[in-house]
């Protein structure tokens, strides 16, 4: 579904963040990316939908080369949902408007359809009563659940999560992870950058370890946590577990 070949990213011609990533995400997989901060995990994730433009390399999505400047990136982006660490809800719009804005603007649905779809999704995360509220009236956990709903409203083929629980108070992490788990069970293809090792263990089909701009290990969670091979991964796991 997503194929990455020899991906490099350099910031300001100096800081070499990604040093040649090759990876393929298949339909239905749940890839969890872990690694120390500054390892390039977030940049890798952001490159997948061209929020960062790669310095070198190719990214293919559903058989289309998205790193080609002639590709309509806006159209591609509608198929890839993204959830950010800082939620990034639109504070001047109600929850319902936050969710329906893009599907209507991108002409995927008309207003009534988008509204129905939004209410269905809100029901799924238990927040129907917040439809008319503004983001400032919600807790962090609620905001992130809405951000997930907003991305899902586009009916994406894959969902990308960039440290979705890192900005939350500890007691709100659970509610967001629960929504992500349910999403994983529904068969959604997911790429998740996170520090939640428990989540990785439980949900991932594959766990990737990144450090210094490279993927140093990839394995199913039992092997990844039970029998790590890379030295730096062993060190990393010793620190975080």
């Amino acid at each position: 579904m997503i194929t990455v070949r020899n991906l490099h990213k350099t910031f300001n011609n100096k800081i070499h963040v990604l040093k040649g990533i090759d990876y393929t995400v298949k339909q239905g997989e749940k890839i969890v990316v872990v690694g120390p901060s500054g390892s390039g995990k977030s940049t890798f994730l952001r490159c997948l939908k061209l929020l960062e433009v790669p310095t070198e390399g190719e990214i293919w999505f559903d058989g289309r080369l998205i790193t080609d400047p002639r590709t309509n990136i806006n159209e591609i982006r509608t198929h890839m949902g993204m959830v950010f660490q800082q939620f990034n809800l639109f504070p001047h719009l109600t929850i319902l408007q936050n969710i329906t804005l893009a599907p209507v603007e991108m002409k995927l649905m008309d207003k009534t359809e988008a509204k129905e779809r939004a209410m269905q999704l809100l029901e799924r995360v238990g927040l129907t009563d917040k439809a008319q509220a503004y983001p400032a009236q919600l807790s962090g956990g609620q905001k992130q659940r809405i951000a997930i709903v907003r991305a899902l409203a586009m009916n994406p083929k894959v969902m990308l999560f960039d440290e979705p629980t890192s900005a939350l108070d500890p007691e709100m992490v659970g509610e967001v992870l629960a929504v992500m788990k349910e999403l994983a069970d529904s068969g959604m293809t997911m790429v998740v950058v996170t520090h939640e090792m428990g989540f990785a263990r439980e949900i991932a089909t594959k766990v990737l370890f990144m450090d210094e701009g490279m993927i140093l290990e990839e394995a199913p969670p039992t092997e990844f946590f039970g029998n790590p091979k890379n030295e730096r991964l062993k060190e990393f796991l010793a620190k975080v577990l």
């Binding site: 982006r77 509608t78 950010f84 990034n88 639109f90 503004y134």
Partner: protein
């Protein structure tokens, strides 16, 4: 001076021969020029700000960014009275009606100031907002229109109100090219009655009242727009 003397003066300066109409007509033109030029200024300012911001993010817009900077530097670096006279006597030489000329001159002038207000407003919005909008597939323009600018507008409303008030009073400068605005109305009455105190104070009071009314209006608008801030 007792009240009957004051009343006589008021009667002679403003009521006799309907002289107050000169102030009323002047006020009308002052408001027309202010509204026209603030609208023109907002359009010019918005484009200049977008050019400058685009130039920072994309090399393709470098020239537009440089041109915007030159515009802002020249306009902010010269007195508005000179700009007005240059536009009136050198550019619109054959203009019969000085009011449109004044609108253009003050619009061009305030555009430079409003550009900086807009730029600060747009840059005050967290980058994540643009990113989230783009990530949902919206293009740069739609993201600006529906996500960034509405939030930026709310943040810059006090500064924009300030610019409006400044502009309202600054339009009195247009009296030098004989625009029949509020100050010119007062001057015209004085030229008939030879009473500078009462005529100028009347004009000053009218400016003051308009500014106070406008400030109230702005407060109402700000309260309305802050609806989404309530927790």
């Amino acid at each position: 001076m007792n009240f009957s003397v004051l009343w006589d003066k008021i009667y002679y300066n403003f009521i006799y021969e309907d002289r107050y109409m000169m102030l009323v007509k002047g006020l009308g033109n002052t408001l027309l020029i202010t509204l026209g030029s603030i609208l023109l200024g907002i359009i010019i300012g918005l484009f200049l700000a977008l050019f400058k911001i685009s130039a920072e993010n994309n090399k393709k817009f470098k020239i537009l960014g440089i041109l915007s900077n030159i515009y802002i530097t020249v306009i902010r670096g010269t007195p508005v009275i000179l700009q007005l006279m240059i536009i009136y006597y050198a550019i619109f030489v054959s203009a019969k009606d000085p009011i449109p000329v004044a609108i253009v001159a003050f619009g061009v002038n305030s555009g430079a100031y409003i550009a900086e207000i807009f730029r600060a407003g747009i840059q005050s919005i967290d980058k994540g907002q643009m990113e989230a909008a783009r990530s949902l597939g919206l293009n740069f323009r739609t993201s600006m229109q529906l996500v960034v600018l509405p939030q930026a507008f709310k943040n810059i409303l006090p500064a924009l109100g300030n610019e409006f008030i400044t502009l309202l009073k600054e339009t009195s400068v247009a009296t030098v090219i004989a625009v029949p605005e509020l100050l010119r109305g007062a001057v015209n009455i004085r030229n008939i009655t030879y009473e500078p105190y009462i005529t100028y104070i009347a004009a000053a009071l009218i400016y003051l009242v308009i500014v106070v009314l406008f400030t109230k209006l702005q407060g109402l608008l700000e309260r309305r727009l802050s609806q989404s801030d309530h927790r």
